[in-house]
Symmetry: C2
Subunit: 229 residues, 2 copies
DNA sequence: TGACTTCGTGTGAAAATTACACATTACTTC
DNA sequence: GAAGTAATGTGTAATTTTCACACGAAGTCA
């Protein structure tokens, strides 16, 4: 079935920058394109927005179709609309970024994508279209966000140690943080709940496990919050 | 001439939230719609994106066509894409916000818009489509931005007094600020250049006029800046 | 039981933020 | 031209926040 309009229309897509945290380093999920253009190149997961779904829905749907991931933290980033970003025709892309917990890193490639793989953000292959620009923009946004909103937990498993949280901040922000000052600061927000359990691993003192309080977290996210590290 | 596609496509528009500062209060520029739907309702200036122009270009073009404003500070805000935001058909709108200096407030309504008018943000009429939501989002972004980036100058004339700048901050942020602390802080960024001139008005001591240093300003905007008040 | 490794904690110095009051300058009016 | 009026312009002390920094505790392994 054909669809006809008075004026030419741009195609509308969504693209997702999915971040994960593993091996003590920030990772991003890329797919190898199975179809032209840029066949066999690495690219951000994404695809065309259907006319009866919202942008957020499209992002979640494409993400699940191409990578198997669902129910993750997802936020709109920016809309990329230069004229020649796609060689085929005019395509405007609404970019999203997403944060996943390590448990979700089971990525079954499917449908459009020939393959899905995690890459450390410090070592990304050349990307299709203007995806390198989108990725850079997402990384910069994540860095900014981390310094004033408590989104770091979205990248950690439900139970985590303060050291894991600190490593996350250090590796995303690219700085070293003093352990005592970090703990003082984080705990002062009264957002972390110490568990009865401990994390024991290796020949040394076990670490206290924490989870974060989802109620206080939501409250913080809504009002002006403040989670400066 | 008709244009035909395999799948149905959303129409793509831009909408602009234009802020001005006048009468000691933050103002927003609205147009009265000359055509259906929402004929005679107030709305944000905006219109359809042409297939051969970027999103930014479309925003600037529509702004000039509908309000006569050009060369203003303009930044993409967010893309609104719920399914039924336009009663005619699926329309996705990329929202922008803009800041104007008072000198530019000469608004000649034209083309699509029957009338253009400034409204204090505290007293906005009902808006067409989901424009109230877009406006709220823009205002919230402006507030956020003002507290950590030196964009306030974009809303003031080229020469201004520190009191004017303070009033701007107070009225946008909705807080009272201590005069001495404000001046100390603002001047410490070394961004303001005192002029030889003074601003004299009324039966009292005249005020020192300042302009801001565009070079330092650009430098601040690019790197992590920091303009906390 | 001693070596090793990571966890967990407190204090003092420096810097930033906040609170706060009065003399100065020009215009107006008497 | 003297007195009144109104907004400008300036400094300091108290408080809070940030930053720098070192060592005992708890567990494993040999």
């Amino acid at each position: 079935m054909k669809h006809t309009y008075e004026y030419p229309r741009a195609a509308l897509t969504v693209d997702c920058v999915v971040f994960g945290f593993d091996d003590g380093a920030l990772q991003v999920l890329l797919i190898r394109r199975g179809i032209a253009p840029f066949k066999d190149h690495w690219a951000l997961p994404g695809g065309f927005v259907r006319v009866e779904e919202t942008l957020d829905d499209a992002a979640r749907r494409e993400l699940e179709e191409e990578t198997g991931l669902k129910d993750l933290f997802l936020e709109q980033l920016y809309t990329f609309g230069t004229v020649n970003r796609d060689p085929r025709e005019r395509v405007v892309s609404v970019a999203y970024y997403a944060l996943t917990k390590p448990a979700d890193h089971t990525t079954a490639a499917s449908t459009d994508a020939a393959e899905a793989r995690w890459f450390p953000v410090s070592d990304i292959p050349p990307l299709a279209f203007d995806h390198a620009e989108i990725f850079a923009s997402a990384l910069s946004r994540l860095r900014g966000k981390l310094t004033y909103q408590p989104v770091g937990f979205e990248l950690l498993p439900p139970k985590f140690t303060l050291t894991q949280l600190q490593r996350l901040y250090e590796s995303v922000l690219g700085t070293e943080i003093d352990k005592r000052n970090f703990r003082k600061k984080v705990l002062s927000y009264d957002l972390l709940i110490p568990l009865k359990e401990q994390h024991r691993e290796g020949p040394h003192r076990p670490a206290q496990l924490f989870r974060f309080d989802p109620v206080k977290y939501e409250r913080l996210k809504k009002k002006g919050f403040l989670f400066e590290i």
